[in-house]
Amino acid sequence: MLRFLSTRLWNGALVMIGVSFVSFLLFNYVGDPVNNLVGESATVEQREAVRQSLGLDQPLVVRFVRYLGLAVRGDFGISYRNLEPVGRVLLSRVPATLELSLCAALLALCLGIPMGVYAGIRRNAWPAQVLQVVSLIGISVPSFVTGILLILTFSVELNWLPAYGRGTTVSLGGWTTGFLTASGLKSLVMPSITLALFQMTLFMRLVRSEMLEVLRTDYIKFARARGIAERSIYFRHALRNTLIPVITVAGLQLGALIAFSIITETVFQWPGLGLLIIQAITFGDMPVMAAYLILIALLFVTINTVVDMLYFQVDPRVRLK
């Protein structure tokens, strides 16, 4: 276990350095922050002066090494867009994104898995067929369309839910939460559904096909032959064996929910990391982009390590090897 973990950590560190370098390379292609700062009327001289003061005239490698040196000490610089320390900017956005992702993940798992189990067991019943068709829609409609449709229905037509933002938030020792106010909870509904829809249908389809697979195996047949109750067969034997791929996918998807909630956050003006990064990209706010990518890489590395450790618990075969 320990050796397993240390290999994982070593791999993780390599991934992090790789990601940060690649992201640094990418900055050459996202544009120039200087223009957004100096305005359109600046002369060549004035632009150059600002570029120099930001160190943007240095070669890429020099900038990377300098950046890494500071980043290791926890100094990610100052955001070009709003002149605040990057660490603080990122941290202030984490609660919004985590709360949204948590709601979406719960929604996706709590609805997706039971639906998948049902569709697997009663695959010929008409509700299962309906689920299959609906899930196709869920998987193929892009989330900005879902988001806008929800806004048009529930904000513009019915006026039940707010179209943007997090509502009123309460600050608990630096963590701003929307869970404690009515407007905060109302604001969570549409973004959570929008973000969860894809994952929910994905889980449903995955669990369904895994269930079908497992139900065909010999040990299920033998279990049936021994006269074990159906309930026990489905949930103790079949479902448990479908969980390995589900955990893998769920882990990756949780990362994806946090990292790629960009579209959902933009549609609902949800003040989380996704909105931050899209604005940083449009502005050319390199310090924020760099720190964000490192944070996301860290997130994926952590999640995958945790997922690998969960295998240990769920699947005895991993331990034997």
Partner: protein, 520 residues
């Protein structure tokens, strides 16, 4: 006290009800430090809190603000009489020391707003309510330039360690980046970046308010569809930067209406007139755009009326020059199209210039910068195709397109200019037509260069007589028209929307002046 209350009640005077004005646009204010950026949205917003010696009204005309009056002492020295009994939001009195201090603070290394004050040499205190402003040379636009010197409190900045402008290099945050203390019509109450900024009306403002607001809530909403939907859902009183495709929907809703007018910004096409071999083209060894006949052919091949009709949904103002007729000093008589739309004439010109079959060239366009920028470029591509010029499109986000412009990595490119923040003709001519050097022609990516034109620039820059100055500008504009330095298209529309009963006082510089807004 009781007597006064009784009097109020008996006279039927009712205390005005609280009026909150909630509005949205696509961007957030970058910083609360007015000197730290030169972003036009930020500048516009910060005028709610910080004021200059002068300000613009809704017709972008200069009017007195913190200065009551001014007069010229010598060609390079202007004397400003400051308004008495003006108070900062924290109650401190405003005096000449604050003006001198603000001038010094705007000169500090982190300041980017100083770029707009390049012609001012010094600001000196004469007495507690008088200051002298000295310019480097006789300078007719001093008042317009002083719009950018918003006044901060000396005592407050000193008390909070904010005597220098926020500096990206310092790697630490400045107190003034989040906190404010101005003299303006509104006081900052709270700010959450990318969420909302709340202002309350300043009860001790020196001016008699034209607005009737008690609170202003600004929310940035990046997504166009969400912004319009939020307005229609009743959550907002007004939005700016409304996409043209939503105009119909908003107007037909019954409770909301759209306000549209021409922006100062003119959109035009530039051409590389410098390289010996054109980039992104199949013409080798020469540059067709160096030939005025080719430039004229492109001009005549583009139908600006068709662009107005089918791309801009009827709301654009076709232009004959690269500056808006509403700008200070603009020669309004030269805004007719210099050459008519005539594809046959264009083909003939191309044949005369040696390109009977046309040629291929790349077109650099932003796709998130101007109103319908990408769609305009697509329309122009098909128009040019009809005279034989085949276009390789290079459409990019503005952040990338800007880099191209700065590096002159262009062949045929779209660009716009509004002449802001001064709202004067000079900046456009200086930036886009003046020969590109280290200190001039910053936006002249096509690198047109004409000594006769360059000779006019310093004259325009220093002519104090408005009529003579206008004649000089007309002369300069005539050169750009005859030489087809650029192909002007139109002034783009400003599109705002509001609840019925809300008067936004739209201005052609696209600044929402909250202190002029009334809500019924």
């Amino acid at each position: 006290m009781t007597l006064a209350m009784a009097l109020f009640v008996s006279l039927g005077i009712v205390v005005a009800e609280a009026k909150t004005f909630t509005w949205a646009s696509s961007l957030d204010v970058l910083s609360m430090d007015p000197y730290s950026t030169n972003n036009s949205f930020t500048n516009a917003f910060m005028n709610n809190i910080y004021e200059g010696l002068v300000r613009f009204d809704e017709k972008v005309r200069i009017e007195p603000a913190l200065a009551e009056s001014w007069q010229s002492v010598s060609p390079t020295v202007w004397r400003f009489k400051l308004r008495h009994s003006v108070k900062f939001h924290n109650g401190e009195p405003f005096t000449a020391d604050d003006v001198v201090f603000s001038w010094q603070r705007i000169q500090t290394p982190g300041s980017i707003a100083k770029l707009n004050l390049g012609d001012v040499k010094d600001v000196r205190k004469v007495d507690a309510y008088t200051v002298d402003v000295e310019t480097k040379a006789p300078f007719p636009l001093l008042l317009n330039e002083l719009l950018n010197l918003t006044i901060m409190s000396k005592a407050w900045c000193e008390a909070n360690g904010a005597t220098e402008a926020s500096d990206l290099q310092q790697k630490k945050e400045n107190h003034a980046n989040r906190n404010t203390n101005g003299t303006g019509p509104f006081v900052l109450k709270s700010r959450e970046i990318d969420v909302k900024t709340v202002l309350t009306a300043n009860p001790t403002w020196w001016d008699k308010p034209k607005h009737n607001l008690t609170e202003v809530i600004y929310t940035p909403i990046k997504s166009d569809a969400t912004r319009t939907s939020s307005l229609l859902s009743g959550a907002l009183d007004a939005t700016t930067s409304v996409p043209l495709q939503d105009v119909q929907r908003i107007n037909s809703s019954g409770n909301f209406s759209v306000v549209q007018g021409p922006e100062l910004r003119t959109i035009f096409f530039g051409m590389d007139q410098y390289r010996d071999e054109l980039l992104y083209s199949d013409v080798k060894g020469k540059n067709p755009f160096k030939d005025v006949r080719v430039r004229k052919a492109l001009y005549q091949a583009i139908d600006v009326e068709a662009i107005k009709r089918s791309v801009m949904r009827g709301v654009s103002w076709p232009a004959g020059m690269i500056l808006s007729p509403a700008l200070n000093g603009a020669p309004t008589g030269l805004n007719n199209r210099a050459y008519p739309f005539d594809p046959e004439a264009a083909k003939k010109l191309l044949a005369e210039a040696g390109y009977p079959n046309g040629f291929t060239v790349g077109m650099q366009c932003p796709n998130d910068r101007y109103v319908y920028d990408e769609q305009i470029c697509l329309a122009v591509i098909s128009m040019l195709g009809r005279v034989g010029i085949k276009i390789t499109p290079q459409f990019e986000p503005a952040a990338k397109w800007n880099v191209r412009l700065n590096q002159q990595d262009v062949s045929l490119y779209m660009i716009g200019h509004a002449g802001l923040p001064m709202a004067d003709s000079y900046a456009i001519l200086f930036d886009t037509v003046g020969t590109r050097t280290q200190s001039a022609g910053g936006l002249n990516a096509g690198r047109y260069s004409n000594p006769a034109f360059d000779a006019l620039l310093p004259k325009i820059g220093s002519e104090l007589d408005p009529e003579k100055r206008r004649a000089l500008i007309a002369e300069a504009v005539t050169i750009t028209r005859n030489d087809v330095v650029y192909i002007p298209l139109h002034q783009q529309p400003i599109t705002w929307a509001a609840k019925k009963g809300v008067d936004l006082k739209q201005a052609p510089d696209n600044y929402l002046r909250t202190w002029l807004v009334t809500v019924n």
